[in-house]
């Protein structure tokens, strides 16, 4: 991370005007934006620039945004924020399931976007040594690692944050709104689908049987809580 720069952001969007405007806004906020206009060169640029965050339009010429998202996620846990013009559940869920951490629906307010980016880059500022446990899953917060029976489980930063938020207060039931605020940094409840999809993704990694979760338990009608310690 260069000095004075809050972070490098790769903007993948085929609409040059929007991309340029995003660049202006982000630069004004102190980020270092890089522009990429199509899906095919996105992965190469990602490898070359090693951004701290990726802003990804879902509709791209060439390689589709969803595929780009999967490809990046396959080699990195870097935060990905999707830009989408579609709000239908299916589109949003497909985007989130392909590995995006968050999404912003066009048209968005610049402040809203910046808040999301800031929330995703906020982490790593609190290296307090802390060891947590849910069931047979051990979490080293400072070391940023999750282990079951000594075997490491690879989580994206967002999934890690979600797990830590639940594990820190195993007695508390978290509503989706509270999780949105704590993990994603939303001030007002936006979309609880975000939580649902990421809980599914998290479960598929940390649960022995994702169909019968023991680590992240659903409390019907309320939300989620950490499983019995």
């Amino acid at each position: 991370m260069a000095r004075g720069v809050k972070g490098r952001v790769l903007i993948v969007d085929d609409d040059t005007a929007l991309a340029e405007m995003l660049g202006i806004v982000l630069r004004g906020e102190g980020y270092e934006p890089t522009l990429c206009a199509d899906g095919d060169s996105a992965l190469a640029m990602f490898r070359e620039h090693k951004p701290d965050l990726v802003l990804l339009d879902l509709m791209l010429p060439g390689m589709d945004g969803i595929d780009v998202c999967r490809a990046i996620r396959a080699e990195s846990g870097v935060p990905i924020v999707m830009l989408t013009a579609k709000t239908d559940t299916i589109d949003v869920v497909v985007g989130l399931e392909s590995g995006a951490d968050d999404y912003v629906v066009k048209p968005f307010k610049p402040k809203e976007l910046v808040a999301r980016i800031r929330a995703r880059l906020r982490r790593a500022e609190e290296p307090v040594p802390e060891l947590l446990e849910i069931g047979d899953v051990a979490i080293d917060v400072a070391g940023h690692s999750v282990k079951r029976d000594g075997a490491a489980i690879a989580l994206t930063p967002l999934e890690f944050d979600l797990l830590v938020a639940l594990a820190r207060k195993p007695w508390q039931v978290f509503t989706r709104e509270v999780l949105l605020e704590q993990v994603w940094g939303y001030r007002h409840a936006a979309d609880t689908r975000l939580v649902n999809v990421h809980v599914q993704r998290l479960r598929s990694k940390v649960e022995r049987d994702p169909e019968r979760p023991e680590v992240v338990v659903t409390v019907r009608g309320v939300g989620y809580k950490a499983g019995p310690a």
């Binding site: 609409d15 929007l18 405007m21 806004v25 013009a85 559940t89 299916i90 066009k106 968005f108 009608g221």
Partner: protein
């Protein structure tokens, strides 16, 4: 009150007694009206039965008359021969012999009853006339088993006065008490020295009666058979006509139920085939037109959706550019700075309009999906009110939340419920004239209801259905001030329907409005049957008046009793 209740109660058992047969009658009348086949068959049967009865009657009368005429002719001939031979025998008897008649008469009677017609079953009576007074005169005689009943007084009088052959019908009792019709022929016989006797022949008609009975039975059977046959034929013929008509009706019903590919089968070239063919042509043309309209509206909806989507990307860019300008407005001259502000606010408005338009187009395209999960509706309402507090403050309206103790959990799509409540509360604030807006929540076993009550200008009940129309305004002259898009209530209605719920409004001019949304607690549990909150608010002017004016005399019903 009791004066009214009395007669009503008394009338009830009577009505119940009458209901049974009346219902049966109504049902058969309905069947009669519904079934063309039944009507045709019944009418045909009734008319052919009447025709056959008349015809049969004529036939029977003819046969009977013919039979009787023959019998009477034969009887008359036989009787006149008999009376002639008797007279000859009497005349030729040797009168000097003492008691010659006492011997002759029984012989004569016996001979007469035996002779003549082949069957020989006839009775003969020789009766003393009224002018015979000599005790020595022969007594009246009759053949064995003859019945004096066959000789009527009328006939005797006629024989005595006219002195020629006379005849009549009568009846005699036979063994087993059966009356048998007879034809009786009488003629006077002169017995020299004693006076006029009357000779009667009674010919029984039982053979003719048997024949007639046989003919009648045969006719009856044939008639009945014919009626059944005619009825059957009518049934078959009408069936041939009615079946295709019924088929057409059924096909038309399916068509109107939306199965546009439904057609009638066409066979032959008769009128019914023509009916089927033209019916099918009509269906095809209807189908084509409906498809065209559907395509058109699909294209239209697709277009609205595409336009809305395509607008989003440039709008985002414009939005960001405007934001950058807005941030920097302090450095501009006042006019440019103000322009940047106006640009910003109008972009907000444009954005929410676009969002609502997209939502509506999603509903129009049938693409709206329910993402229902058990959620506490009270919690949603609390969030909505919290978020709208600044707007309410700006308008001087207090937001009041009235909730039951505990949670009201229902299977709902929280995003949509939040939107419904936001739309209703914003609407109430906008039309609330700065008076308090109350949000009330109630739940029972089946449903959760949220009522949003304002005390603004109110609503004409005639407009109650209009408020959910797109871009509808109660008063076109009234400007939108809170930046509502005019689609909020339409979307709220669609959202409520998607939950299989209700969204209704109560309003009175000058008494404010109450919007009530009622949602089933479980999805797929079937139609809602009621709402936990009455549509007309308890604090409406009418209800307050009812409670107030009537306090000492009347009792007001339980809440919900006057629910619209």
């Amino acid at each position: 009150m009791p004066a009214v209740a009395g007669p009503v109660r008394a009338a009830r058992p009577l009505a119940r007694v009458r209901r049974g047969p009346r219902r049966a009658w109504r049902r058969s009348f309905a069947l009669w009206r519904r079934s063309l086949q039944l009507r045709v068959v019944t009418t045909t049967t009734v008319f052919s039965l009447a025709a056959i009865l008349v015809l049969g009657n004529v036939l029977i009368t003819g046969v009977r008359d013919g039979l009787l005429e023959d019998k009477v002719q034969a009887a008359l001939a036989e009787a006149s021969t008999g009376s002639r031979t008797s007279q000859e025998a009497i005349d030729s008897a040797d009168r000097s012999e003492v008691g010659v008649y006492d011997r002759l008469v029984p012989d004569l009677v016996r001979q007469l009853s035996k002779g003549g017609a082949a069957d020989g079953s006839k009775d003969v009576l020789l009766l003393r006339g009224p002018d015979v007074s000599d005790p020595q005169a022969p007594l009246s005689r009759s053949s064995s088993g003859a019945d004096i009943g066959a000789v009527t007084d009328d006939l005797r009088t006629q024989v005595q006065t006219r002195v020629v052959q006379q005849w009549t019908y009568s009846r005699v009792a036979r063994e087993q008490g059966q009356a048998v019709p007879v034809v009786t022929v009488g003629s006077p016989v002169l017995v020299p020295g004693f006076g006029t006797y009357e000779l009667y022949f009674a010919f029984p008609l039982d053979k003719e009666q048997d024949t007639l009975g046989l003919v009648r039975r045969a006719l009856l059977l044939a008639g009945l058979g014919l009626v059944i046959l005619v009825g059957g034929i009518a049934w078959l013929v009408t069936r041939q006509v009615v079946t295709p008509v019924r088929l057409a009706a059924r096909t038309a019903e399916r068509l109107s139920a939306g199965r546009l590919e439904e057609r009638m089968r066409v066979h032959g070239e008769d009128d019914l085939a023509r009916l089927a063919a033209s019916f099918n042509r009509m269906a095809t043309s209807l189908q084509r037109q409906i498809r065209q309209l559907e395509d058109l509206s699909r294209v239209q909806r697709r277009f609205v959706s595409d336009v809305s989507h395509e607008l989003r990307t440039p709008l985002t860019t414009v939005r960001m550019a405007a934001d950058v300008l807005h941030e920097a407005r302090a450095g501009f001259n006042p006019a440019v700075g103000r322009s940047a502000e106006i640009l910003q606010t109008q972009l907000d408005r444009f954005e929410s309009l676009l969002a609502d338009l997209l939502e509506i187009s999603r509903y129009d395209a049938g693409a709206a999906l329910l993402d229902a999960e058990p959620t506490d509706v009270v919690g949603i309402a609390r969030q909505v009110i919290e978020a709208l507090e600044p707007l309410a403050d700006a308008r001087g309206s207090a937001l009041v939340l009235a909730t039951p103790d505990g949670l009201c959990v229902a299977e709902v799509d929280s995003r949509r419920i939040e939107r419904i409540l936001r739309n209703l509360v914003v609407n109430a604030i906008e039309h609330g004239d700065g008076r308090p807006v109350t949000v009330r929540i109630e739940c029972d076993g089946d449903a959760v209801a949220v009522a949003v009550r304002d005390h603004g200008v109110g609503l004409d009940p005639a407009d109650a259905t209009m408020v959910f129309n797109r871009f509808w305004r109660a008063d076109p002259a009234r400007a939108r001030t809170t930046g509502g898009t005019g689609l909020g209530l339409s979307i709220a209605l669609e959202d409520a329907h998607l939950h299989e719920g209700w969204l209704q409004v109560w309003g009175q001019p000058g008494d404010g409005c109450q919007f009530r949304v009622t949602l089933p607690r479980r999805q797929g549990a079937g139609e809602l049957s009621g709402s936990p909150i009455p549509l007309e608010p308890m604090d409406s002017a009418r209800r307050r008046q009812a409670v107030h004016a009537g306090e000492p005399y009347r009792r007001v019903g339980a809440p919900g009793g006057v629910d619209a």
